[in-house]
Symmetry: C4
Subunit: 285 residues, 4 copies
């Protein structure tokens, strides 16, 4: 049984498991060190793009990348080998295939693949070497840890509950973007045809105006265009106000529900008495 | 009676009717294909403005436009012919006239009209050919479908309920825009008369500052102008905060009312007891 | 007594009086026409600054200004003469002085004064002629009408109730502006001394960054400056989120209080029963 | 005992003490004059950086700085001498050391230190003279007074209560910033390698896009880059909506709790009856 026990142990080491009753994450040194390694990789990928650093520390970056990919590869193999210890991936073949094709399984694979590909390529294949940025995908593992955070859970619930309203707000943005950009294009194409070359080009102005970014690389010059542009920018405010309002109401509701679950009365902020029957409220009998 | 039945059938096919009791939209293949055709037209109108695509696929765009307008024309005719099947447009002549002059009736007409006009014109009449963009008007039919969405309904109710407050916020923007632009104009016209040429011109800066877009094509340069400009930009924040707050309160209210309609107590989140009389709340008897 | 009656009548004609019991504004043709004249003056002042319009319609603008100032002057005189009909300005001399020194009294005077001054001046005195823009001050009379709007009243109450919180948010902006601008100045003055010439100059960048306007006429170039600039811009978000949140909570509270005043229970949305004693709520007896 | 009494008196003069029962700040002329002196120093530091003013009033600035630092030095010494009158710093040596190493103790020291350093230095040491800006640190004393404001207390409680949610929103910004900047870098580095030189450089664009500042000094030019950029800017809206919504809900909750503490029913807005037992709410018995 040592084989099974070892496998079980390996899986538990690799996996940030959740304590059943308390629901608290159980960290061990392996989880922590892997987490640190991932964050260091994110940092490395970012700094590696800085020419001066790249020139000075190229060997360091290279050594660190080799080390990281080696660790990730071993981890990947170990996960595939030991995943059968997880009830979800019980069966030796089917279970392992399901794990490999799971979101994190694919992510882990894509995170190490480019390195091996680029090893086989001549150094000139710049475009492919850029793929090594895919190490950033390991970032997903960090985000995955979010499931142990109350606040992230609350945010998810709020956004899920208000999904429809937020979707409508987004749809509104898209429709406004199409109409606004088309209108500005038709108005401005005459006077500055090399700037507002097409509706898709005008959309770049439209999205900048609606999100109040305003790069200034293109702007209406005709009086009518400026008038319409001003109105579009005002409408852009609605695009901020709607989601803000929707999310505010969502958090409100979430907090209120939290009180209810704790059995606290929203009217007086005191716990309900022992006589209260779970079934119904006779507030107005 | 086959004529009447046919007409009835055609109208039902063209119209996305609403199921009486459930209020759910009843789609049929005609509605769906017309919807798809409209969205494809929106896409075509947008892409057609891209020079390179226009040159390469001009025949495709042209064929698609002819096909679309043909379908829209047939649809338009069929609607006029069959609209008498709708209780709103019962009478043969008066009813049809009322339909033709209805919002969607006019939209459908304007959407196909430019094509026939431009057919009669020489290809050089660029400005008129631009009118063919009016096909975008069919977009209104898509938006019209919004009435089957809960979230859109909620948004409409919220905005309708807070109409007054939002209107005041908008009026505030206009007043601030007029005063701010006039002030900046008076301050800046001396030092950069070619930029702040007039108050309407200054308004272009004003709206950009109040909506925090800031194109950078014009900005105050005098110390006093910059000081005032900074204050105006700060006031611009209020222009975001007010609608956001108003809409947030509106959604709250809407959610709360939703609970009430379901007969759920906001204090404890449980349904009211059977003894509750609809008429009044004896909460504090 | 005809003199007194006439005076009474004139005052009522000029003043948009409020119906005692209903509190609804009582308009008469004089109020409306004066309101229209004011709005037309606002429009005229704005358009008059447009060179092309000024050249073409200078006589029209001039005639309209003479007419307007004449009317405003007569109105001003009539108000001073008849204001004693108002209980607030009962006494012939003291009352009239109090009216003349009241906010609207001063506004009306400043609105007509520049015209008479500039009449005495040579046309070359451009800077003084600009003072004629002060006709815009009459705008205050339009805003004054806001007191008849529910929504404006609600907005005032909300802002008054949240005065302190909004003030703190504003103070926070000022403190952040001073610290951020000083820091960016110290960091950037070395590398671009002609852009970040002084802390006040840096404040122009600071306010643009905090309000997310970003003109692009000045921006940090040093890595440290960009790093700090990014953080400052992130803090700028708080400057939007705080007022929005405060105002949202304020409207909430206002709506809730409105329900209470109507004696509607926030728990079930039904009016309280007849037995309810105004004094207290025995919700949890 | 005169020594002790004097020390006690000095400490009370220097310290804006809080009245025990009322909790209101007790100002005396020393506190006020020190406060004014600090604010004047902030103003001086800001204006001193303006070349023209510096040249004209250099002696005034210099005299004022000497005077201020002298006063601050005396104050600093007096505080160290008299701090033992404060129960927190009772013991002569340990207490004084604890005071010196307290936040305000360090601030006060850093605020006067640079002056003495720069006195010893040649006037050419520009970079060190800039340290004299550290007088701004005294600003902390003004902010410290915030603890006497209800609104600031409320803001602190709201932010503290929503700490987690706001932290998640901030984390979301950072993650989005890293991913967005990396993506834009990979897309744009080919077409404009001198603008998007590295991921850190792209982050300057990223933060400007996410905070909707948009300087325009760098922007995507490739169609794919503009498409992604547009989506990133839309996501930037969420970065405003989330904190605004969270803070709105936080203020709501704070206001609601305030009502409860006053024993006012949220349902009917009336105080609870005398029979109400503090322990529990029998709302739904």
């Amino acid at each position: 049984m040592t084989g099974l026990e070892l496998r079980q142990r390996v899986w538990e080491l690799l996996d940030v498991s959740e304590d059943q009753q308390s629901g608290v994450a159980e960290w061990d040194w392996v989880d922590v060190s892997l987490l640190v390694l991932i964050l260091l990789n994110v940092l490395a990928v970012i700094l590696e793009t800085v020419r001066s650093l790249q020139l000075r520390f190229s060997t360091v970056f290279w050594a660190f990348e080799i080390f990281s990919v080696a660790v990730f590869s071993v981890e990947y193999a170990a996960r595939i080998w030991s995943c059968t210890a997880d009830p979800r991936y019980r069966q030796p073949i089917v279970g392992r295939l399901r794990y490999v094709s799971s979101f994190l399984g694919v992510v882990d694979f894509l995170a190490i693949l480019p390195f091996y590909i680029t090893l086989a390529l001549p150094a000139s294949a710049i475009d492919l070497r850029i793929l090594r940025v895919l190490r950033l995908l390991r970032f997903a593992r960090v985000l995955k840890l979010g499931r142990y955070s109350d606040s992230i859970g609350r945010m998810k619930r709020v956004i899920a509950a208000r999904r429809g309203d937020l979707g409508v707000a987004l749809a509104l943005v898209v429709v406004m973007l199409i109409l606004a950009s088309s209108a500005i294009y038709i108005i401005e194409v005459e006077s500055q045809p090399e700037v507002f070359t097409s509706i898709p080009a005008a959309m770049w102005w439209g999205i900048s105006a609606l999100t109040t970014v305003g790069y200034g690389d293109m702007a209406p010059v005709t009086p009518l265009g400026k008038f319409l542009g001003g109105i579009i920018q005002l409408l852009g405010i609605a695009i901020f106000a709607l989601p803000a309002g929707i999310i505010a109401a969502g958090y409100e509701e979430e907090i209120r529900r939290g009180r209810e679950d704790k059995g606290i009365c929203s009217s007086c902020g005191r716990p309900f008495g022992p006589e209260s029957e779970p079934g119904q409220c006779t507030d107005s009998q």
